[in-house]
Symmetry: D2
Subunit: 401 residues, 4 copies
Amino acid sequence: MAVSSLPIPDQLARRDSLSERYKSVRQYTEALCAPLEVEDYVVSSMPDVSPTKWHLAHTSWFFETFVLKPRDAAYVSLDPRYAFLFNSYYVQAGERHCRAQRGLVTRPTVDQVFEYRRYVDEHMLELPDGLDEDPIVTLGLNHEQQHQELLLTDIKHVLWTNPLRPAYDARRANQSQPPSTFDGWCEIPEGVHRIGDDTTGFAFDNERPAHRVFVEGFKIANGLVTNREFLEFIEDGGYSRPELWLAAGWAVVQADKRTAPIYWERDDDGWKEFTFAGMTAIESDAPVCHVSYYEADAFARWAGHRLPTEAEWEVAALNFPGMPQLFCDRWQWTQSAYVAYPGYTPPTGAIGEYNGKWMSDQWVLRGSSVATPPGHSRVTYRNFFPSDTRWQFTGIRLASQ
Amino acid sequence: MAVSSLPIPDQLARRDSLSERYKSVRQYTEALCAPLEVEDYVVSSMPDVSPTKWHLAHTSWFFETFVLKPRDAAYVSLDPRYAFLFNSYYVQAGERHCRAQRGLVTRPTVDQVFEYRRYVDEHMLELPDGLDEDPIVTLGLNHEQQHQELLLTDIKHVLWTNPLRPAYDARRANQSQPPSTFDGWCEIPEGVHRIGDDTTGFAFDNERPAHRVFVEGFKIANGLVTNREFLEFIEDGGYSRPELWLAAGWAVVQADKRTAPIYWERDDDGWKEFTFAGMTAIESDAPVCHVSYYEADAFARWAGHRLPTEAEWEVAALNFPGMPQLFCDRWQWTQSAYVAYPGYTPPTGAIGEYNGKWMSDQWVLRGSSVATPPGHSRVTYRNFFPSDTRWQFTGIRLASQ
Amino acid sequence: MAVSSLPIPDQLARRDSLSERYKSVRQYTEALCAPLEVEDYVVSSMPDVSPTKWHLAHTSWFFETFVLKPRDAAYVSLDPRYAFLFNSYYVQAGERHCRAQRGLVTRPTVDQVFEYRRYVDEHMLELPDGLDEDPIVTLGLNHEQQHQELLLTDIKHVLWTNPLRPAYDARRANQSQPPSTFDGWCEIPEGVHRIGDDTTGFAFDNERPAHRVFVEGFKIANGLVTNREFLEFIEDGGYSRPELWLAAGWAVVQADKRTAPIYWERDDDGWKEFTFAGMTAIESDAPVCHVSYYEADAFARWAGHRLPTEAEWEVAALNFPGMPQLFCDRWQWTQSAYVAYPGYTPPTGAIGEYNGKWMSDQWVLRGSSVATPPGHSRVTYRNFFPSDTRWQFTGIRLASQ
Amino acid sequence: MAVSSLPIPDQLARRDSLSERYKSVRQYTEALCAPLEVEDYVVSSMPDVSPTKWHLAHTSWFFETFVLKPRDAAYVSLDPRYAFLFNSYYVQAGERHCRAQRGLVTRPTVDQVFEYRRYVDEHMLELPDGLDEDPIVTLGLNHEQQHQELLLTDIKHVLWTNPLRPAYDARRANQSQPPSTFDGWCEIPEGVHRIGDDTTGFAFDNERPAHRVFVEGFKIANGLVTNREFLEFIEDGGYSRPELWLAAGWAVVQADKRTAPIYWERDDDGWKEFTFAGMTAIESDAPVCHVSYYEADAFARWAGHRLPTEAEWEVAALNFPGMPQLFCDRWQWTQSAYVAYPGYTPPTGAIGEYNGKWMSDQWVLRGSSVATPPGHSRVTYRNFFPSDTRWQFTGIRLASQ
């Protein structure tokens, strides 16, 4: 099934039945794999990247571990060794395979992993009491949606690592580059605001509790920084002027010899970009993609502005919900470190490791990207990544005092 | 001159003349070196540590570069090559020696470095227009005071690296371990507060501008965590229970095989600690020292509490200025990442690199320590270090909702 | 076609036609792949290991580069980019892909690589002047035979890296462990001997020129060290007694925490070994396999003997051609460094890089192993590997004065 | 006492008394330190380099450990912890300090180390039975002479690491560059020769036993490769032509960005070289110095020749003892790996670690250098170093068939 023929977000959001939603989300993951060859599923092109095969299995392991086993005493695993291979980082869920070796495991084969998915799905859908009352199922679906984005993010890096630069899917070329619509600033006056989730719907634990923040008056850009603007930064010596960079960022620029966003390459015909459709010319009006926090921060300094805090971003999004490119274009770096909200308490047990133990040495990103699956965006959503990473679909929204 | 016979903080604070203050601060730096052998000045025991010799020269280079050369066109350097050797990280001030090799440079000798200090001092004190009107001189003195603390911090690590564990100064044993006075919590109700410096006196650029924050109601400990309490954490398996740690912290614990604060060692007679007076028994009531952010955070989680934010710390210190151990005991880790205050603008030129370019991947620490020189503490002061470092005089103050 | 039904060495050796031999060798390579899943072809489990897919393509590239292109001006590559991907280390043959990334390249797919082989084969077999007069074709076939052994060596490591320890081929379990037949020493008196190849048949350049050596009287073991004997070494503390080891070897033992040959594991039932058939019990009388030079040297010292030099090995093999286990069991470490024979001259051009540029920091191994293809053993053959490697089928033959 | 006023080699060789020789050798070590500042004694500029202070102490530890303690039950160490700090690598002599941290130990001070030397000397010279009958004393003196050369070799690297490039001793400038006297080749016919030490005088265990070798006819250069010749190699693209290099050598050239011998630098006035007298112009006729095996091998290939084997070198030196520059100029790389002579047996106990455990992954060098102390050269002497090292006083003598 082609991704383009899958249900769109609103339709998913309206579904009454968690079983239907379960089937839809699980199906969407597999649809993302349709363009791949068997060989593509196996490889990890850098420590941040997991093999496609692993994403497929790990998301199934999540349901097996946190739903099937606790709820069905008679449940028998398809292969008990999968618990070791496909646990990601849940220390309280048992021993696990070394992340660095994920890309070296050729068995189970891709076919066997799809068989594992079917096995878990059948048991999930046959649970005696159904799925609907179990909040862990909803968590598992949101977890799988996060891995849908990671799967796309990772396979793009895998294919790019190949000197042949093979396309993921020729039809997805432009989809990843919507036109930018920046037209000035949106001003927000000083005041106390309430941010974070206080609904009864699903939200991750790190979006809670809702709480108050004082935000000094600021302005925030009505759109995202474009490739054209970022190219001006490059041509103005952006990557060779240390005074524009954080010290740690400048060290990375020099060590990695960075001169452009990760997937950009320059040949005699000018700058090109690796997309899902292979190498293509840079589209000037599209929002710049695949920049790290360091690059976003340096660009903002060069432009005479700064990045927004996550509170500013959320307040702006709440007050101006029609602000362009909030969602589904690029994750937007904020200058807020990823830490707990006041009063935050993680759930007990292994599920408590989901978000809480990552609250150091990362930055919050807000919004969502072209790789985010339908129905998985929220104004309170807190994505997070370290300062130097840029294989994700990340961009820049500016702010200013 | 022994450190103990130097002027005490209040006396320094009262001085009218910047020239007098200049002489006093410069003299204090040299007094800190009195217990050292020539060999001790040369070595860097890990990448974070600079040789004593380098601290002595670099602080002089600061005055030469930012005061003497700009203000005195006729100024001739004692040795023009020192500008290369003793520039720390100011890219805009010219090429500089590689930090990693600071501990490999045996010349200039210690005597020559002291001669360099005298040469700079003579020229500083003979500046035609005097020192008093120059804010860079004040910055240079605060800079030198920061290096006074670093010098002590670094030489402690150098001496500890030696299997012989030589003492820095036998008389300083207990000075570093004041008794802890914790007696419960101080409660602060929710509200909008103003933090940051808005005086006309000296403050670093990163303490400005003053701005408003909303702080939810919280409570903060009336004293610092003691060695006794930290030992309970250790004995309760603190260093072997991953659920207590941030993921990045647990990775460090395992990679470094950490089982206690950096200078602690256990032998048949129990736990001992490396102090300025050499190895001594742990003093139970003294505040724990030399813990990283990861350890502070894990301890807080184990204790059922959390670390304060820097806004909470400052609000508490402003409202309860008599709160014990705010200053001169241990730097106190906060769960606030080191980023710019709203509206922050660094100075132009190389001086702008002083604080601004370090605003990533570090945490704010508040208060001051036993190694902080007299007169160098402030309620708005923002110290900062990365998550895993612990050779500084750092401790733990708890907070809670 | 199963490997077991392929022609045996003598039959191959007797063939008159190089075309027939070409087809046979090429077919043998592909037969070795029969037990593999597509996923198995892709991975490199450590820097020494190349993916199966790469071995299949590289051996074809060799014929394309050194035979088809030079001899057929009209030859058009199936994909000109393969020259970049599948050149191993021939600097003079053009730019090449980074060895460290061989295991990250998912395209061309396995099917496409087999298509590449067929394409090269068709062109090779249709060369206007035939193959028979071209010494480079013979070199290419010997090259492919070396990669046949490497393919088996590497895929064994790939499968072992998987915690599931999948078998390569259940039928090959015992084939890899012929019984040992050691029964004492063979004595050779002092004298001048001639070693190296002086025939008109095929030999690698490093086996020439034949030359004279003086060998002091020595004795050499009539068989290889067995698993039983190596287990005695282990149980006598062999891996924890530094006095038995070369300094560099002891450093490796400690850094890698080595306690046994690479594929050995101990569980409650005793020692097991990873073989082509998966984990199996150690066979006591089989020659020990997968030991490094360091381990071979330490064992010899423990046993009160030493390793032979390559001259001693060759003289012994020439004088006692019936000596057991000379070939087809284990490569035998010698204490001779891999350097040029007196008068050695490599061929000109890229082919000269085949052997000559590796003549440093490696040891010569003599004989051949169970993984060596039929017809590829010679008394003058010089295999070579670095001191700490042990994923090859290497064993120990002792010598003494 | 200046080095130049010390006894010359012949005088040393003639001495009857081992006590006199002991005093002379110990005095010579200290005389080498005369030009140093205290700071210079402390530093290790790379892992291969030991601090001067450590050389002074370690050579004393050798006598303390292997002579004083075994022979004098009443001997009391000056400081028992020195045994831990100053044992180099003798596992059987007890635990020892980590080599990588030698340069971080500031205490004992230089004065205390000299006091340790005096303490050991006094006890050595007061041994009841005298020194003369003890072969370990002779070994200790030869050991100390080896460290005399290492001390010079290491301190040169320490001073060069300093961007100020301070001189060791201005008077030693030219001493290190004797004029080269190459005038053609010396031919040696094929034959069986005897090499290795068979005298009753002192030789290291690795020079024994004497044994026979067959050497094919060869010729060997009458002098060493000069700076002029090596410059021709550089100017002919020597460092940028991979076909001239061993594969491992080429990898080092690229990783280290090597373009000349280690101490060479090019500025607007041409090539300069760091010598004991600081930076000086290259002396064209002096033998090239500070090249690694890789560079020696690449030069030889470029010149159309090769390096000699150690047997060839020794046979040539025995047959043509007047051959220029055999000794006291540059150590000469051979293409012989450092392995045991046939029949070699190391002494029992810790002394057996002296040479035996280093017999892997290194090359033999023959002759001696300008830094070798008087009286420490021998035709059977086997020095050894790894392929990529070049901080030693190493040069090139060519050979050919």
